[in-house]
Point group: C2
Chain length 229, copies 2
């Protein structure tokens, strides 16, 4: 019984960037886990019980207790399994990494997203707004192999799942070259480095199915957006 | 020169709950700091230079470097000055504290806020929505002196500055009893405990001026809201 409860479980959704970053961290640490794919429309009683506040994936279950919110799960994983650290140890670098993660998820992602739904009116403005924010990341990764330094770390997992393996795929089928090489040489170099990392390749959603999923999503969001305006 | 750069500076605004929680943490740790009050309408060149992304207070400056976002500043303070810990050490308790802080700032605060601007239409619904979320906090503090246990900690600073010393003051002048004793006995007990803590009394904005400030704010927000709808 005790052994069963010790087992790590991950409730996730295959196309979720938030689930993907948790899988990367678990794999980097070599933590074995049971993956439980969730229906994000008809939510399972288990999900509702474990995350009554947001009712969202990912949820990590460790020693029978739920840990919520992807970036907080990464903090938990790094504190619990201390091999292969994913956060910088220096307090200032740690604060900067946390700040940029929050910036990407809460500020950049919604702005980048808007460029998809506002495509008919003012696409140029939407792209310019997103690129101004992306420029902060370009500066941050300049001269480094990864945001985490020589190896992938917390920020590579957060930004990687959100930008190249989610945003870029969506922008591509919209015909938007959001991160052109001449404007963002350092980010493009970083994306190439990221593509070489085995754990990343194992965890990111398969390209073709993912793009189909993003297309369906974009259509749904666009029509919801039109009804509102 | 080195000595000067070592000195901690805090850029803040007197009525900001986010500034207030950082002051509580610095005082609890006994860290001397220079407080620089900011004009949040006509932003100073220093603020724009230190926080180019959000251009917001609070900003903590330590060793000449800016640390941003109040809850991340609390993390930084706790890691840098290790006396009087404000975060729990246990990874699960730490994850829960971080989750609840995010919940209060990003979910509960906007919902509670809505009850002010939507006062004319459907006030009962707005109050009910906010109270459902507040009930999560009631459960969390049950049987404890503080969210942090026997002493105030991270969550007391976050929730304290947001609810009793901001939300409750605003709800009061709107005539809303959002946290009635009979419905939330544990939270009311916690608020009484909090009022007894010297650091808290030193840091919270003075009641009368604060309420005048909140009234002016509510008026501005209401008219902006009306223009939108």
């Amino acid at each position: 019984m005790a052994e069963k409860e010790e087992r790590v479980k991950l409730l996730g959704f295959w196309a979720s960037p938030f689930t993907c970053r948790v899988e990367m961290a678990l794999k980097l640490k070599g933590v074995p886990y049971e993956y439980l794919e969730q229906d994000i429309v008809n939510k399972s009683p288990l999900l509702l019980q474990l995350n009554p506040v947001h009712k969202k994936v990912p949820v990590l279950v460790h020693k029978g207790k739920p840990i919520l919110e992807s970036n907080l799960i990464l903090e938990y994983i790094d504190q619990t399994w201390t091999n292969n650290p994913i956060f910088p140890q220096d307090p200032y670098k740690k604060a900067t990494a946390r700040f940029l993660a929050k910036f990407v998820d809460e500020q950049l992602a919604p702005v980048g997203f808007r460029s998809l739904v506002k495509a008919e009116k003012g696409i140029e403005v939407a792209i310019k707004e997103a690129q101004e924010l992306i420029m902060f990341l370009e500066k941050e990764v300049t001269g480094k192999d990864f945001f985490g330094g020589e190896k992938i770390g917390f920020l590579d997992m957060v930004i990687g799942t959100m930008i190249p393996y989610c945003g870029v795929r969506a922008w591509e089928f919209m015909g938007i070259d959001m991160i052109p090489e001449e404007k963002f040489p350092e980010l493009n170099r970083w994306i190439k480095n990221l593509n070489e990392v085995e754990i990343v390749r194992e965890c990111v959603p398969p390209r073709e199915e993912h793009i189909e999923h993003l297309k369906r999503n974009a259509k749904r969001i666009k029509s919801a957006y039109k009804r509102q305006t």
